[in-house]
Subunit: 233 residues, 2 copies
Amino acid sequence: MEINLSIRLNEKLYLRNPEESELGKKILQYSIVLIEQIGFESFTFKKLAQEIGTTEAGIYRYFENKHRLLLYLVDWYWSWQEYRVMMETKNMPDAESKIKTAISLLATRVEDDLSTGHINEKLLHDIVMSEGAKSWLTKHVEADNKDKLFQPYKDLCARIAGFVKAYNPSYAFPFSLSSTMIEMAHSQYFYMQHLPSLTDFGKAKSGDEIIRFLEQMVFGVLDSAPAIKGKKK
Amino acid sequence: MEINLSIRLNEKLYLRNPEESELGKKILQYSIVLIEQIGFESFTFKKLAQEIGTTEAGIYRYFENKHRLLLYLVDWYWSWQEYRVMMETKNMPDAESKIKTAISLLATRVEDDLSTGHINEKLLHDIVMSEGAKSWLTKHVEADNKDKLFQPYKDLCARIAGFVKAYNPSYAFPFSLSSTMIEMAHSQYFYMQHLPSLTDFGKAKSGDEIIRFLEQMVFGVLDSAPAIKGKKK
DNA sequence: TTTATTATGATAGTAAAGCTATCAAAATAA
DNA sequence: TTATTTTGATAGCTTTACTATCATAATAAA
């Protein structure tokens, strides 16, 4: 049995849907490889075109500019993660397991998922770690936000916030805790690799310690005296 | 009495020390204004030169490129924050107050500190919030790290990690918790302003709620059953 | 099967960004 | 007052970030 997972994203992300043509898929596939390799600042449509064997103008037919392409990739990643979280937590009875599952999925080094042909999830994971924040750290965040370009991330955040609320309905900051978890699952990984003195993880390389750190933190707050909304404990 | 706070930074950050000349100080002063205004991507040395009334080449005599200038500003900011944390916690007897003080200093919207003439701390705070991560999210993090260009951030992180260790010596992740606090003090602020659905803070605008969120989280973990290093609770 | 339509390739061109180099004038130090 | 350092002014070069045009190839409709 072959399952084919296809993720449909906000139309404003692109000029022409890259999922609907060979060239489009090649753009996605090779942009991931190239951005991971040389970094987003050095990445240009010209270099990508050379890599693929097409022309710069060809790529501009699909994406307005490289920032939009990054947004596309990042949105794809978060949609994919939300899908995984949804699937894995589906039949779980208790909120605790759901939270732990979410943490594991987010903080574990990703392996390439073969069900999505042209997207290499492992590389994409690294890109989101190293470049993901750049998708919103711009002067046009608010405009992009109005266009719903951050929806997948927000959806994931809201889903996990839902688990948090289920676990402890009186906790006052489910969304902030959720965004903290998601961010830190990625940032701590980045620190571990490049700036280890910001962490307590040697070159552990696996995400296990990060999972422990996050679980302890999350359940630490949620199990402590519940804070009543609007009041200091 | 007039106190003049001057912060000396790593020499590798610049070609010519900007603190030692009028032009240099103008570069610092106006780069802060301009980056905050138009964002780091749109910011160029040419525009800065026009703003100051000098030439592009003039600025290149001080900084190798705009990324190094950003690093300078960011390092200045973290050095300043560490100094503030150090001063404010100096005579505090207990670790709890020290942690709370650090959280407050990091998460409270900064006012312009008049003791540092050409640096506008309020604007700089916004820059670090919006552009700070770009100082390390590059393909040359490791090289920059070898050159000790992230030292001020690390020092701050280590200082707060020290408070954490003092508060609960058996807690296993003082550095990661510390970097999480520092990052979130800034990121949650950014979310609150631009992507509020990632948080639980309306347009509260003051950092008060963020402080409550962080305090609850930090003491939530630290007061929960202490984890023995290397062992799952 | 011919004819539209659409997708690609090839080429050109422009403005701005990101530098480096040179030389003279101005300010400062010896 | 001479020597040294710091600035200003100008030029130029490569790369990035795009837009435009036109021919050809692939695909769909008649």
